[in-house]
Structures are given as C-alpha cells and as structure tokens.
C-alpha cells in the first residue's frame, strides 16, 4: 500500500465520519428555524456546497498563475481537476438555491446580485471547460484556459460581497454577523468540514486520473514509435 493510497483511505474514513456527524446534527440536533421552518435545513448543505464552488475556483486561479509562471503540467492537471469539481458543485449550489428560493421567496429564481453572480460563475466554469475541450495543442489549451481562469476570478469577490454591496432578497452574511445560534453554527462548521474533506478526496483522485490520461498518451506515442 503506497503513501497516496493511505492518504486517500484516511481521508475517506474522516469524510464518512464527518458526514455521519453532519447528518445527525442537521436532522436530530439543530433546532428548527422559526420563520422558514424545516426547509431552512437546506442551508447546512447549500452553504458548504457554495464554499466548495468558490474554493475550487481559488484552486484553479492559483494553479493557473503557477502554470503560466512555471509551465509545469502538474499545475495544469490540478487546474483541470478543480475546474470539473467546481462546475459540479456550482451546479449543485444553483439548483439547491433555487429549490430553497421557492418556499422561502415564492419564486424559483430572481435576478438578485448573489444569484446572478453565482450564475456568472457557472458560465465561467462552462467557458473554462469548453476551452479545455475544444482548443488544440497542450500548451495552447493550458494557456488559454489559464487566462480565462485568471480573468474570471473577478467574479469571486462579487459573489462573496454581493449580499453586502447591494440590497437583495438573499439573506445577509448571517455567519459572520453572529446571526446563528451556537447549535446552528456548530452544525454548519461540521458540514463545511465534511464537504471540504470530500473535496480534497475527490481532487486528489481527479488529479491522479488526469496524470493517468497523460501517461496513456505518452505510452501511445511510445508504442507508435516502436511500431513505426
């Protein structure tokens, strides 16, 4: 058993334990919020999913800068792995937000600054993945997508600050303004921990897959050279 396998096994155990704790806290420990009722419990998964969507973009941003500086394939494989996961979690972020909006606001969608900037983030992920899929040449592909990732990073502070900068239907930054009771805050922290562990686990796995893709390509070239 190698070091990477042990790391993944430890992460898997920790992720499982933290998700079990998170589910227990959400459904048996945390009190029901008075104004929204039971549907407010979506908050404990919606916020961590949003956190992962943003964290993943920060990983892409840093990896893209590092790729442009060092031109190392390692950074590019990290960026593409984070982009795919970020896209998945941004989709879940938008869908769960919409499901929560219906009972809370009476509509599935509203063009409020938070929702609009989150949708823009989703489109940036789509643009990034489209460039990866359709650009020819490894270096060109990595350079173009890195440029999009760096330019697109401007949306991250807008998503975070949108609820403070503009008047919006979306709840204000309750987490940072002391608007949560201690049981609510504890539950949210455990949920964020669980999703972060899951993110690290999936990211490691996805990076390994991207390395394997490069290995397969190198082996194909070697085979062609041997045959030719």
């Amino acid at each position: 058993m190698n070091k990477s396998h042990i790391t993944k096994m430890v992460l898997l155990v920790l992720t499982t334990i933290s998700f079990m704790a998170a589910l227990y806290l959400i459904f048996f420990y945390v009190p029901t919020e008075l104004s929204m009722g039971v549907v407010q419990r979506i908050f404990y998964f919606h916020v961590p999913v949003a956190w992962i969507a943003l964290l993943s973009y920060v990983v892409i941003f840093v990896s893209s800068i590092m790729y442009l500086r060092k031109r190392s394939k390692t950074w590019d494989t990290v960026a593409i792995a984070a982009a795919e996961i970020g896209f998945i979690f941004t989709t879940a972020f938008l869908v769960t937000g919409s499901i929560w909006a219906k009972p809370a606001w009476g509509v599935w969608w509203t063009w409020s600054p938070r929702l609009t900037s989150a949708l823009v983030l989703w489109f940036i992920y789509v643009a990034y993945l489209t460039i990866r899929a359709y650009t020819q040449g490894d270096d060109r592909k990595a350079r173009f997508s890195s440029a999009v990732a760096i330019i697109g990073f401007i949306d991250i502070p807008i998503v975070i600050l949108s609820i403070s900068l503009w008047r919006t239907q979306h709840p204000s930054a309750l987490i940072f303004e002391g608007g949560l009771t201690p049981p609510m805050l504890l539950t949210l922290q455990i949920c964020i921990l669980a999703f972060t562990l899951l993110y690290v686990l999936i990211l490691i796995q996805s990076i390994q897959i991207n390395r394997s893709i490069l290995k397969v390509r190198d082996l194909r070239r070697l085979k062609e050279m041997n045959e030719g």
């Binding site: 009722g37 039971v38 549907v39 998945i88 899951l198 999936i202 082996l219 085979k223």
Partner: protein
C-alpha cells in the same frame, strides 16, 4: 411538517450530483488502468 418535499429534493440533488460524479471518476480510473496495462504489455512485446 411544512415544505419537506423541498428539503428532500435539495438533499437528493446534492447526493445525486456527488455520487454521480464519483461513479464517473471510478469508471474513468478503471478504463485508464486497463489502457495503461494493455499499452505496457504491447510495448514490452514489441
């Protein structure tokens, strides 16, 4: 209990997305492992 359907739907979406993606990754990993083994065998035989 009010709005339980929405709560269920939101959690179901997250689990479906996460497990769906993990399944996709596992399939990719399996296929790549097979490809690497096959290519290494072919190269050795050549």
């Amino acid at each position: 209990m009010d709005n339980l359907g929405y709560l269920f739907a939101a959690f179901a979406v997250i689990w479906a997305v996460v497990f769906g993606y993990i399944l996709v990754l596992m399939n990719r990993q399996k296929k790549l492992k097979r490809d690497i083994e096959k290519l290494e065998t072919d190269i050795r035989q050549n």
